[in-house]
Chain length 368, copies 2
């Protein structure tokens, strides 16, 4: 599989939903496979909240491959001997695309808290400009989970003729108070963490030492990526061997897991990017710009296939089911389907249990 | 209703499960109604994680009555014209009973992090010593929810002849990794909050200013006291009027609620008491001291009636149901029942939806 990583720079202003302007901006992206002559083999895979453009393959001797490597590659579900898959890093992120730590023109000082709040529509709009610059004006499919699923929905509504097929997974048409509440812990813990310094923290210091607030926010996230059953299966009531049961800070294995992943994450993700990404998720509402969700979904012209996961406690299956019901009520059942994957793994299943939806996706793509 | 508040002091050592000793210790408690001549009308209502002894009635012009005032009082379910209800403040708490801020004998310095980790068994044992001192050696009933339900279960197993009737509500026989994970946010946020100062914070300073870490922990708690549906019903996607949608720190109503309750709580509860209470909850396991849960529950001699709440996402109904199944497998179905209350309110329902289980409790008590 041919893996390429590039960064494109745009100097035309990007007009944002908030009324603000991003100018200039950069988008880092990866491609897998080869674009065919008539550019008809493109699949886009937008990433989740804290994801990045490295969706598949390995850089050199990298220990872990990209986040959807089980799904994308030669002979895999998104077969890169056939498709040209593009994964772009969302603007606002900290992995190469323009984000809060990028230089603000013309001062060249980092934006920090002056970075504009972005919506899913803004992120998708920036991607469309990138694809235009690559001469790609139509794609075969857009497939994404979680915040990537929000982007998929947004593409389907706002650019009805852009994709033949859109597959949103483990997502919602509008973020509900439950998910917003889960995100709240991180927002509060980060903004009041003395190390945050009103956004004026030293980026290298955070990379070296992490940030408690960001780690706590990530722990809340892990709650919602897993669920009661998957935690019970994974950790039981096992207690960390080195800790005493009657030590105040003695830990169960589930606590050690949350600590490890939380603090590790906080060294590898930017706190401001986290706050901006969470804000984007919180204010997502596919119906904004329309009177109702019905009116928004009525704009969809592509094939629209929804996949939810039974144990998902971040975006519950009912949320995806509701979208399907609206689509059916609009008379669109012939090009819309809904699949609830039977899974115990919760929200994270869309990254892990590829086997459970691979055939379904292959059929939708006409590859099986 | 006659409401009395008292504090009892004990100078005999309290031998704890950890092997440590608490000596001396005090227990603050309230009573409602009058003890009858043969002391046969006592009902005990143990409190939840951050509750206290003020379960019913009002002190003077107090704005809010005790936490179970809808349930306890003259003519109410636990009718104080008939019953003598006792509510004790758990040791380890910050509302009068001996806790981490109490003077450690003989130095008279506050225990702080030298306070011993307590188990539910320890808390119940201390209560039994209080009741002994009051000449109460047998009670009609013990009724408690959440951590109070753990105490109820513990009474039934460890003091099989002490109560005629035990009614655990919205609780579990052993805390599962999901609940432990929810508690983890508070533990991490508090211990790493610079204001915590390794437990050497100024108590008055926290009362005046609160503590972010404790507030964040409480926000995580509120997640589990409510649930997806109850939050949707309560807050929808309403946005705080004074905030801008595209302000990074602009808030949805659910966020304002969490902030208000989180920070308010952090001014009214002691961070160390919180850490100790959470630890007590995390390590609760009714089977500890027995080989299996079956062996533990086999010790129960009283009437044992379990009540769960459909939307509870802290202690799921399945956890209560499991206890009932074990009781039935032990041949105890004649004096054990299980009721799942149909509720949308989640864990907090045991404090709010009294109407939904009042008749059931009255029948169990033989009062209807």
């Amino acid at each position: 599989m041919k893996l390429r990583t590039k960064t494109a720079r745009f100097t035309n202003p990007l007009y944002l939903e908030s009324g603000r302007i991003l100018e200039p901006y950069e988008i880092t992206y990866e491609t897998y496979g080869e674009l065919n002559d008539d550019k008809s083999n493109v699949i886009i895979v937008p990433h989740a909240l804290t994801g990045n453009h490295h969706a598949a393959g390995r850089y050199g001797n990298e220990a872990k491959p990209g986040w959807w490597d089980k799904f994308i590659g030669d002979g895999k579900t998104l077969d890169t001997t056939k498709y040209f898959v593009i994964s772009t890093n969302n603007i606002g992120s900290c992995f190469g695309s323009t984000g809060p730590q990028s230089p603000n023109y013309p001062s060249n000082e980092p934006f920090r808290l002056n970075f504009p709040v972005l919506t899913i529509s803004d992120i998708v709009k920036a991607q469309r400009i990138l694809f235009d610059s690559l001469g790609i004006h139509h794609v075969r499919a857009i497939i994404g989970g979680s915040l990537g699923g929000m982007q998929a929905i947004c593409y389907a509504i706002e650019y009805p003729r852009f994709a033949d097929i859109v597959i949103p997974m483990a997502t919602t048409a509008y973020t509900r108070p439950w998910a917003i509440a889960i995100n709240k812990m991180g927002i509060e813990a980060i903004r009041h963490d003395p190390a945050f310094k009103d956004g004026h923290y030293d980026v290298d210091d955070i990379k070296d030492n992490g940030m408690v607030g960001l780690a706590v926010g990530r722990m809340a996230g892990h709650l919602s990526f897993l669920n009661e059953a998957s935690m019970r299966e994974k950790f039981g009531r096992n207690y960390t061997e080195s800790d005493g049961l009657y030590e105040l800070f003695g830990r169960f294995e589930v606590e050690r897991y949350l600590e490890y992943n939380g603090y590790n994450f906080s060294k590898n993700f930017d706190p401001l990017s986290y706050l901006y990404a969470v804000k984007t998720m919180n204010i997502f509402n596919a119906a904004r710009g329309s009177d109702t969700l019905e009116e928004a979904l009525a704009k969809i012209k592509c094939e629209f296939h929804l996949i939810s996961f039974k144990g998902d406690v971040l975006f519950f299956p009912e949320e995806m089911h509701e979208i399907h019901e609206v689509m059916c009520s609009l008379g669109k059942s012939s090009h819309c389907s809904y699949l609830e994957v039977d899974s115990d793994l919760g929200h994270d299943a869309f990254l892990i249990e590829i086997d459970k939806f691979s055939d379904h996706v292959l059929k939708i793509l006409g590859d099986k």
